[in-house]
Symmetry: C2
Subunit: 366 residues, 2 copies
């Protein structure tokens, strides 16, 4: 057992306010995680949690990348800084994805051999939860990025979610290897080429959600983001419609009342709070970005996911996987390791020196 | 009122068999549509419907494009031929999207001034149905293709679905005009530039499904296809879960029983059969592609959508819209009409002479 893991938590940005994040931090602290909370100290009462007074919030900043640079006193920047300096081991943001991504990408370097960080999220399908990545960090990708996402996702599911030999699929518009845009076809070929390194099950279509055929679904950040939000939108409208049906007559109301406990069970199964939110993979430190709407329970989950990721060394295990699969980015100037899907371009190699420095959602194609 | 519209229907390919398609054809004929049915005459009993014996089916062909070329006697090829030759006014396929697309693209020329045909489908959201296009005809697109899809979709919703001044949105990963891949950003700019020509409401995210903010959602065929199937997958898994919840205990079973009539109403609202299936827009003839799982009612709807499209001249109205918006493809070699989003490339212009000749799902980027 490792020594205690410390998680730096930004308390600003949550819809329910900093006090709710503090309650989540207290829950996680009870379960043995060391937490440093950055936010307005006056609002943060959390037993067993260290509080750093950082009242300035950039959670609603219009241009998060600029806000991060110009506001070193902001709570998210201080939390990220605590991780970068080694005072804490991982980051949890208070609910503003934009600011959390911008601050992490600004301050955390990319993990060794990784082309691009990716946002990964456990989609809570009843009986068949799966990891979707990239859920929005990279609007455009190259095949070797998709290949790395596959390995990064597999490592996360194995290490943090305890799935043995996770089955990985590419999200496409058909199951045949030839389906999809060029990049997806090339990634399919590369992943098929090293069958031992990963349990690659090929392309899956959106129908596959809920079928349990894959534990990890890989897409570029645009398609992944659209798919994720389409799931949320579809889920919302359907559950709303079921609720409306259950209040449409006296008979239906009685039916709805009798059914309520069972439907509550379903609601718990599809509650995204259980999994802590999105995880930023591929940087030198782990970051977890809960949804802004989460309550204390969701923030506690996020902190525990971050803690587990550090304790089980998800970053190290990801690196091992990428190395074994020959999917590491070729080191700058050297002959280095083999790389799936083609050469890293000069620009890509160059950017790796400085680490990513723009908000992930706007990362330009390199 | 125009003279009677004739719809050519391929009876092969439906999951429930040619007889079910024939029943749908009979329903449509009862409502005044002239139908010519192509399929195994022995199985096709349909009052008031002309039957052409065409027992050969390529609905399950592995390579639909090749099958279309090598099998002129196939029912879908004969049905398409009937439309191309003017014997019928529009096409309805028996349920094999691949064969229907391949045959239509092989034999129908692209509509004047249209870059690319698109597959459009009415998504049956309770209270807020909308048209999604491209749902799978073009894996990659250019901005001017997205712009044309916007106008094509608006014309369809106006003319066939009776929506006055349909609101059109681009499906993206954020609402800001800067969000999305380059092509989406450029299409956003082009659509914003002519505010009178179209009711463009900007980018929407997947959350917007069910919100009723847009009547037409425009995407490239890869993203659109993934989104459509994710909706279906999410919808399936949720309704299955609700059903499972409703049988999980005696109390729940009673609740489910009481709720059943109201839920049946919801099921009818989200039944894709009501809208007849996917519509192939942008060719010189209209094609409707029902889902293979449809029953007689779904095929009847498809035939009626095709009939309405012809009677209300959706192709002519689409052309007018594109012309008014300056979004027509520049005619080959001429100064011609203005074109949104840039010049047509030489290859694009060249291909337009022969008409599309490859299965839409594999249309190469031009």
């Amino acid at each position: 057992m490792l020594e205690q893991v410390t998680v730096a938590v930004d308390a600003n940005g949550a819809d329910l306010g900093p006090a709710e994040v503090a309650r989540g931090a207290a829950l996680a602290a009870e379960r043995g995680v060391r937490v440093i909370l950055f936010g307005p100290a006056g609002e943060l009462e959390a037993a067993g949690v260290e509080v750093v007074d950082a009242p300035v919030s950039i959670a609603k900043a219009h241009d998060p990348a600029r806000a991060v640079r110009s506001t070193p006193e902001a709570s998210i920047v201080q939390a990220v800084e605590a991780v970068a300096s080694g005072r804490a081991d991982a980051l949890v943001s208070g609910g503003s994805t934009g600011a959390a991504l911008a601050a992490s990408l600004f301050r955390f370097k990319r993990a060794r051999g990784v082309h691009r960080p990716a946002l990964a999220i456990v989609v809570p399908v009843p009986g068949a939860p799966f990891l979707l990545l990239d859920a929005g960090a990279n609007v455009t990708v190259r095949p070797e990025h998709l290949v790395q996402f596959a390995h990064m996702g597999a490592a996360f599911m194995e290490v943090v979610m305890g799935v043995r030999r996770p089955r990985v699929a590419l999200l496409s518009n058909g199951e045949e290897p030839s389906k999809g845009p060029e990049d997806v076809v090339a990634a399919h070929e590369a992943l098929s080429a090293s069958p031992g390194a990963i349990e690659f099950v090929g392309n899956v279509e959106g129908f596959a959600i809920g079928s349990g055929v894959a534990d990890v679904l890989v897409a570029d950040g645009f398609t992944g983001n659209v798919a994720l939000k389409v799931m949320e939108g579809t889920s919302d409208v359907l559950l709303r419609s079921v609720r409306a049906a259950a209040t449409s007559s006296a008979r239906s109301r009685l039916g709805g009342l009798l059914l309520r406990p069972a439907l509550r069970g379903l609601r718990d199964q599809i509650d995204p709070q259980a999994h802590g939110g999105a995880v930023l993979l591929g940087l030198r430190h782990l970051g977890v970005v809960p949804h802004g709407s989460f309550g204390a329970r969701g923030f506690a989950s996020a902190i525990e996911v971050a803690e587990r990721g550090v304790r089980e060394d998800v970053l190290g295990r990801t690196h091992e996987r990428l190395a074994e699969a020959g999917a590491l980015r070729r080191p700058r100037g050297g002959a280095g390791e083999a790389q799936a899907g083609g050469e890293a371009s000069g620009r890509d190699r160059k950017r790796s020196e400085a680490g990513p420095s723009v908000p992930a959602a706007n990362l330009p194609e390199s």
